[in-house]
Amino acid sequence: MYYGELSGLKLGAATRDAFGDALKELGAKHPEVVVVDADVGNSTRTEPFMKAFPERSFNVGIAESNMVSVAAGLASCGKTAVCSSFATFLLSNAFDQLRMSVAFPKMNVKFVGSHSGISIGEDGPSQMGIEDVSLACSLPGVKVIVPSDAVQTAAATAAMLADHGPIYLRTGRSKVAILYPNGCDFKIGKAIQLRDGSDVTIIANGLMVGAAMDAATELAKSGVNARVLDMHTIKPIDEEAIVKAARETQRIVVVEEHLAHGGLGSVVATVVSRTVPVPMAYVNVGDCFAESGDPQGLLDKYGLNPAAIVAAVKSVIG
């Protein structure tokens, strides 16, 4: 079973794989792109680029802080510097470097965190990036993108490299359903409505967009028409789409594979409370560390599945 299956979506590649393939492809066209790796390129998928362009690739060893500042140094020489690690090691270990070397001087560094969320499974909580979005969003001027499928990830990677300035891209380890046709439109900061509905809007990103689609499919059976918004960019947030959803559906449920505090839910709630206050509910990891286990088992245990979304929708519909 995978998210999106109930909605008739086909299973595609993991977003980390799509990022890696796109990076290698774009690397051929963009000689200014360089990669700095902290010895996990075969996990984060910068490896294909590094193999294709060894002269533009630098593995600095297991040293995320140095990786980020070296990337910033390269960026200050006009390079588009991509660095990556597991989301939690990148954001947590190298946060000061992301703040001082990258965000403060507005360096053209693209930092990519793989292994996001609890769905990485068996490796356990030390490896799970569930606070990364909150940390990234706290950095002034940094854009934060959480793509939901392989096609969108490829488009997001291209958009990220074309954009000048610091960007955090969050990718996942597991295979995810294909939501978009090849060549789909992608704009940083512009949410995508995957399904229209008038009773409630489910706003999700990453892995949970497929789950939101399945929840909407399920809700339709009981006569609830749910709109689904893929909020792939958390910063800058698409206020217009949120306001429209609040006005037109009067209820919002925010779904993410992240802690409760400081992620998509917090950002959407800030917009809603300031513009069109409506009842809201949240589906997320809450305020805890997870544990080792099989990915689906974990998602079910920690309430990140279509059933949990359906329950959240019912809680706001009353």
Partner: protein, 277 residues
């Protein structure tokens, strides 16, 4: 070398006076941490070791200086003023609201500043990245990074030292301004990182240890470092915090004098002392 040691010494005196004037005018800052670094910064900017264009600060082929011990930025502002990036008078707005002369280097607000620093430990990594970038662009440019000796407590410095040992950028030079003090006391008491040169050497760096407050020594060390092209170079610049006005700081009973400006009266004495020596 076109410039004589005597001329550099005179320039160093100017820098010292600027440092004291701007920090006293600001009412805060780190004059003693700035004063220890003066001879090396003077040699870099005026001894012919760095190519730069004050009227074209982003000139692609320039050499770059990163002040990783960002709290010593008055020394850098003083050198940049003397180099013609801006007037000396302008530096008297140091740390004031609206001034581009911030308390720590901010490259966004001041062209000619090559890295925004102030969170210790990051400058060497930034310099390594820049050295690699210059290499990719086939530029014959060099990066000079100045760290403090207290700053070497930061683990990231050693991540960078190790990585530089791997990539061997021949255009990267680190100057450790070993002034012997950090915020709460002597570096040997707070966290003794010595032997410093041995540590860099173990990572494959060329190393030298010199009297960094001797202008001729500073020039000699930079001459050697800039002629080495096959590996990164490290200069342990043994200095004294507050060098140039040490008897005055001794009379104040504080040879560290960390993070505080001289009072207007003491500043006046200090400037007279510098002029008379």
């Amino acid at each position: 070398m076109a410039v004589s040691i005597e001329e550099l010494k005179a320039k160093a005196k100017q820098l010292r006076k600027h440092i004291i004037r701007m920090t006293t005018a600001a009412g805060s800052g780190h004059p003693s941490s700035s004063l220890s670094a003066v001879e090396m910064i003077t040699a870099l900017y005026f001894g012919g070791f760095m190519k730069y264009r004050p009227q074209e600060p982003h000139w692609a082929a320039r050499d770059r200086f990163i002040l990783s011990k960002g709290h010593a930025v008055p020394a850098l502002y003083a050198a940049m003023a003397e180099a013609g990036y801006f007037t000396v008078e302008a530096t008297l707005s140091l740390r004031k609201l609206g001034s581009v002369f911030e308390g720590h280097p901010n490259m966004l607000r001041m062209p000619g500043i090559e890295a925004s620093t102030g969170s210790l430990g990051q400058g060497l990594s930034l310099g390594l990245g820049q050295a690699l970038g210059m290499h990719l662009d086939k530029l014959d440019s060099r990066v000079f990074v100045m760290t403090g000796d207290g700053e070497l407590d930061e683990g990231q410095v050693w991540e960078a030292a190790a990585a530089a040992g791997k990539f061997k950028p021949g255009n990267l030079t680190v100057i450790v301004d070993q002034n012997g003090y950090q915020q709460t006391g002597a570096t040997k008491d707070v966290l003794d990182m010595r032997p410093i040169a041995d540590k860099f050497a173990a990572f494959g760096w060329h190393t030298q240890t010199v009297n960094g407050n001797c202008q001729a020594n500073a020039v000699a060390a930079l001459t050697i470092a800039t002629n080495i092209k096959d590996r990164p170079t490290c200069i342990i610049s043994q200095t004294q915090k507050g060098f140039g006005i040490l008897p005055l700081l001794e009379a104040e009973g504080d040879l560290n004098y960390h993070g505080k400006p001289l009072s207007p009266a003491l500043a006046e004495k200090a400037i007279a002392f510098i002029d008379s020596n």
